[in-house]
Amino acid sequence: MRLVHWLLAILIGFSWWSVRNHHTDWHIWSGCAILTLLVFRLLWGLVGSSTARFSNFVRGPRAIGDYFRGRWSGAGHNPLGAMSVVAILAALAVQVGLGLISQDEDGLYAGPLYRLVGTDASDSARDIHELWFNAILGLIALHVAAILFYRIRGRHLTKPMVTGRAVLDPGTQPMRRGKWWVALICLAVSIGITRWIIAGAPPF
């Protein structure tokens, strides 16, 4: 899970750098790698470790209210942070989706699914893909700002994200680890789905 997070961070940076420096082919591959990670995260959110499961950490507004009033304790994402996780994953999914159907300005490169839409739609998708990156930047900025905010208040969130170890409030249920073979299956499925998409998503 931590690996997925840091790989995402690196690949988002690499995607930006590669497209800025005329390496559109690398940019497309990087996008496909991000797609694999997103699918993996989605699956792991269903069958993975306790703190990764959406059903365990995505809660409604009442839980967020409780959290603000200091009535929440647990391992993993707090109810407010959950919103950030969902927003970032959704924004990335939109971005990857747009990239898949985009084509470049010159007709040299295109996402693996660009033939599913018309040429004008592919051009529009590219324009929106470019604009949408700002939404992602905004969410990343918010994400980093939140971490700094907690840090000022004495909570180090980066360390557990690197080492995997966090000090929990007494009485909190610790994380239940996911099974390694489930992770392997999730990885295989996400690679399989990505390869199918790279192949142009036959038979469509």
Partner: protein
């Protein structure tokens, strides 16, 4: 004071409007740009040549933009044919001829003074700072466009594909260096 602050923007607006209509006039006659330029300069006395020059360059800039867009669209149409599995050679042939034709016209698309100093364009000033290198890259493009168009006369799809890849390489070589990121 208040009056002055109103007139200045008003003046600007009227100037812009003038420039706009001048440019669109030029655009209308863009099919025959060199003729229009010739008659334009011949009919006008030498003193107003400066005034007519910017309109002329703008027309070139516009033709360049439209031409590049057409080349891009043709390229996309060809790529779609190839990627589709059963390429329609007639479509490819038509688009290839269009690109080859426009590539020849491109020799006239980059006169000095048609960079970002004149208006919104993706053409970097570097073009006019490295005229030899730019001309060489443009020449490569023209040669590749011709070769590709010639290849589409045959039925060897792999040969056509390979010439198409060569052509794409010449687009990229020039665009990577001489085109800025332009949003339109």
């Amino acid at each position: 004071m208040r009056f002055a602050s109103i007139t200045v923007p008003a003046l600007c607006v009227s100037l812009v409007a003038c420039g706009g209509s001048g440019a669109s006039q030029a655009n209308n006659s863009q099919a025959n740009i060199s003729d229009a330029a010739r008659t334009g300069t011949a009919a006008q006395p030498a003193t107003v040549q400066n005034a007519s020059a910017p309109v002329d360059l703008r027309a070139v800039m516009h033709e360049r933009h439209e031409g590049m867009e057409t080349i891009g669209k043709s390229n996309k149409a060809i790529k779609r044919e190839f990627d589709g599995g059963s390429p329609d050679l007639a479509t490819i042939r038509g688009s290839a001829a269009k690109i080859a034709d426009l590539s020849q016209k491109a020799s006239l698309w980059f006169p000095a003074g048609t960079g970002p100093e004149l208006g919104k364009t993706g053409a970097k000033p570097d073009i006019w700072q490295n005229p030899q290198d730019f001309a060489a890259k443009l020449h490569n493009f023209q040669v590749a466009a011709k070769a590709f168009s010639a290849a589409t006369g045959g039925n060897d799809v792999n040969a056509i594909k390979s010439k198409f890849a060569d052509l794409g390489g010449t687009c990229k070589a020039c665009h990577d260096k001489y085109r800025s990121e332009m949003h339109h």
